[in-house]
């Protein structure tokens, strides 16, 4: 429960950072990899939130 919460926080910052970095990076390949990371981070955020909400409901 608590560790999922910490992962959620970590992933939240990862998402924010990936978004901010997108405006700084000009290398095309690096940009693509970072955009993939952003998508994965957003997906991970959603999954963690779902798990947390379910854990709270019980």
């Amino acid at each position: 429960m608590m560790e999922i919460h910490e992962l959620l926080n970590f992933k939240t910052i990862c998402t924010a950072k990936a978004k901010a970095m997108d405006g700084l990076v000009t290398d095309r390949e690096l940009k693509q990899l970072m955009q993939l990371d952003l998508q994965q981070s957003m997906q991970a955020l959603n999954n963690l939130q779902a798990l947390l909400t379910r854990a709270h409901a019980q």
């Binding site: 429960m1 608590m2 560790e3 999922i4 910490e6 992962l7 970590f10 990862c14 950072k17 970095m21 700084l24 990076v25 000009t26 290398d27 390949e29 690096l30 990899l33 970072m34 993939l36 990371d37 994965q40 991970a44 999954n47 963690l48 798990l51």
Partner: protein
């Protein structure tokens, strides 16, 4: 010049000298890649640690998937950095020189008066004080 007891103001450095910063864009990309790499590695550690604390199989599966994803991302990113010449895992000497150069370059950048024009604007967005 600088008082040893007081931290130097990072916005009061020498004036901008573009001559010395010809490959600024490349340097910014390399720095961003390194930051990304450190974040991915940190994510791998965090996820692996969480995996040892998971309470339900459902949570464990999700965290394990995220760990695999992070390991995969690390693979892709380190390969990209090796290809670009930003990372030399099999040549510590080369890596060390590059790191030293980055550190010096960054230290000089940190001395530059980069955001002088924004100080006034940013001050208006200071966190309001709570009344006691």
């Amino acid at each position: 010049m600088t008082d040893v007891n007081r931290a130097p103001n990072p916005n009061m450095g020498p004036p901008l000298d573009i001559e010395d910063f010809t490959d600024m864009i490349g340097f910014a990309n390399a720095s961003a890649a390194l930051e990304f790499l450190l974040t991915v590695k940190s994510g791998i550690r965090n996820t692996a640690m969480s995996l040892t604390e998971c309470a339900t199989p459902e949570v464990r599966t999700e965290v394990r998937n995220q760990l695999r994803q992070a390991l995969d991302m690390h693979e892709k990113l380190s390969q990209l950095m090796i290809n670009k010449g930003w990372l030399h895992p099999y040549n510590p000497g080369e890596q060390f020189q590059l790191d030293l150069k980055s550190a010096q370059m960054t230290a000089r950048l940190a001395q530059m008066p980069l955001f002088k024009d924004r100080i006034k604007v940013l001050e208006t967005f200071d966190t309001p004080q709570k009344p006691n």
